[in-house]
Symmetry: C2
């Protein structure tokens, strides 16, 4: 019950024990095409270029940024937590010229501030994080695409922590690239990063195409723009691999693809709306339960992520001792925190396969017992009762 | 029976259906440490820094090169096939200044030529491929380390296609970084790249350490050398994650780690010498069988890889039609070829779980039937008989 990775759905684990297929076997390329279709629905997009990056969620972020950012390009970053800082870190290494619009940790950036910053700096790329688990806040993104298009900017959204748990509305937002991961609300293991790319972003990236020697072909137009700074994360080559050309790049991670496919099948089988409602109920119940117990929840309710809740460590309580007892006595993991929040809050998740009523209730009951054992008495049973009522 | 990916060992697939653990759960970090110890034995090294890169084999190559190569550094590449060209491709994107010592496809580069090139160019880094599946040749590497150390160069070896199937003698070679993959002789799926790093290479890489904001700590000395051009492939940060500091970087790909761990347990359970002998027998039998059938094997026998054999497509035979029949009638995949060899040879693998007597014999029997069906009669039974005899 941490901020991710969390337990995978058992169906995903079973799918990952299927035998391997060759990467150009028609059965396997059919699975690749199915994955593209499934993730279009998950990302709520019509984007043709919707596929997987072979690596963890962070690999998806870097693939998007290194392919979008030409050295020297101005990049506007919308930041309000650790994963906003990660964007800076990656953009610096891509050679981007960074400008930022920041909020304090625990807050979000108003769209009007983003609009103003785009108008002022005229960036080539605008990048932001949808749900930053470090602060448990979800950045509103309605209107992002219109603002970017009005100024010729391409936009990128890191939806690692929200995909499959909160509405990631790629086309409605007008976001050009959105990436995710499996290990949060998708209910799978870390190691595969779903990505979706708009036609205009794909066109820009193909203008940077420099196919590697040894597999170059006459029918592949080479781009006039700066070569992408990474081979592994070169989205032009990866699109040529996932597209009809099937041009060899990396060797697709067969087992992770089986897992990613099963995650999406489960998500869509449940239905996006039902799934988002289940995550919202879990978040609501967790928040109510923690408050019912007399603890103080971190951050403001308006922009809270559904799937991870920050809660202040009470005065005089050893946060790490509590986490250890939770793990050792109850086999439940809850999360620590980063940066300015380290030692101040715990982060308790309820996402994917873990966003279930009984898991929320058991976690709250366990936390009550552990706090008591650590000498911090809370009103017995109040947390669980409040959560039960809030689940609805 | 292609040049990889190949069928995974069933034990590996079962291991990958185990439930997930949190990345800092003591049970999981114990597995991480076990993986480090297991891969030291697989790489035949004492290197402390031996772990996994979360991505396909190509991710391991890029992580090694981007961490070793500072922009403007001279890099000597030893090339004799497509995967040698891939090194060029990646080094260019790292900003390396490339010099090369090349052999024709199907040949290898004599160590004397490497020595001469190192003395002439005084490169910062020397990079080469151990087994290049595009040509089916294995580059001899004895003496590489001495040559490099004498001139202050760091060395890198791509052992993707040979690790677990032929002797990858990291310490005996004196190689500074060696990377592999699971999907060839290790008998697992693509998606995790084992890597080993010598202390001197680690020292160099830590001199490039620039810990990302949001997780930086006072006890982490920041390096004076050029920041590594990738966040995801920053080996300094990845070592700080796999080492005692356990500094958060990516979220380790749990399921792929379970798979990589089981691959190594199987390899070491069989024993390296027994495993290399099995691969050698399979290669010998395949080569003898193809010759027994009257076909011409590609390349010279002295430097042939044990686990993949090139064979000329006979005059008048449609190579793709044969591959299709092999797959459709016998469910056996054999490989096509790249670059100058495309349309000229097939590449037939026998590696990892597939390096078994019955699979070699069945493949040869199937190929005979398919060639006959395509109107190219070979002497019936001669291939299988020759392979049986050569297996020994």
């Amino acid at each position: 019950m941490g901020p991710g990775p969390v337990n995978a759905h058992p169906r995903v684990l079973r799918a990952m024990s299927a035998d391997l297929l060759g990467q150009f076997d028609p059965e396997f390329t059919t699975y690749m095409n199915e994955v593209m279709a499934l993730y279009r629905a998950v990302f709520q997009t019509e984007n043709r270029w919707t596929f997987l990056i072979d690596g963890t969620a962070r690999a998806g972020i870097e693939a998007a940024l290194v392919s979008l950012i030409e050295p020297g390009a101005t990049v506007l970053l919308v930041r309000s937590g650790r994963f906003g800082l990660l964007l800076s870190e990656i953009v610096e290494r891509c050679g981007g010229n960074i400008v930022t619009v920041d909020a304090e940790w625990g807050e979000v950036v108003p769209m009007s501030a983003i609009a103003e910053a785009v108008a002022t700096h005229k960036p080539a790329v605008v990048a932001c994080v949808h749900g930053d688990t470090s602060t448990t806040m979800a950045q509103p993104l309605d209107g992002l695409g219109d603002i970017c298009r009005a100024h010729g900017a391409l936009s990128y959204v890191d939806a690692t922590a929200t995909l499959g748990g909160m509405a990631v509305e790629t086309d409605k937002w007008g976001a050009d690239i959105v990436t995710g991961g499996l290990q949060k609300c998708m209910g799978g293991p870390s190691g595969s990063a779903p990505i979706t790319i708009s036609d205009r972003a794909a066109e820009f990236i193909f203008a940077r195409r420099h196919t590697e020697k040894g597999i170059a072909r006459d029918d592949l137009a080479q781009g006039g723009r700066a070569r992408i700074g990474s081979n592994y994360f070169d989205l032009a080559m990866i699109m040529d691999y996932w597209g009809e050309k099937r041009l060899n790049h990396h060797t697709e991670a067969t087992t992770m693809l089986y897992g990613a496919r099963e995650c999406a099948r489960i998500v869509l089988g449940e239905g996006l709306e039902a799934r988002f409602a289940r995550h919202a109920a879990a978040g609501r119940a967790m928040t109510a339960g923690l408050r019912g117990m007399g603890l103080t929840v971190y951050g403001d309710d308006t922009h809270r992520m559904a799937n991870v809740t920050g809660v202040f460590i009470p005065e005089g309580v050893d946060g790490e001792a509590v986490r250890r007892r939770m793990r050792e006595d109850f086999e439940i993991e809850i999360g620590t925190a980063f940066g300015p929040l380290q030692g101040k809050i715990w982060r308790i998740g309820a996402m994917g396969y873990n966003a279930m009523k009984h898991k929320v209730l058991i976690t709250l009951g366990a936390l009550e017992a552990v706090l008591r054992a650590e000498g911090f008495a809370v009103k017995s049973g109040a947390g669980v009762d409040a959560a039960l009522e809030a689940w609805g």
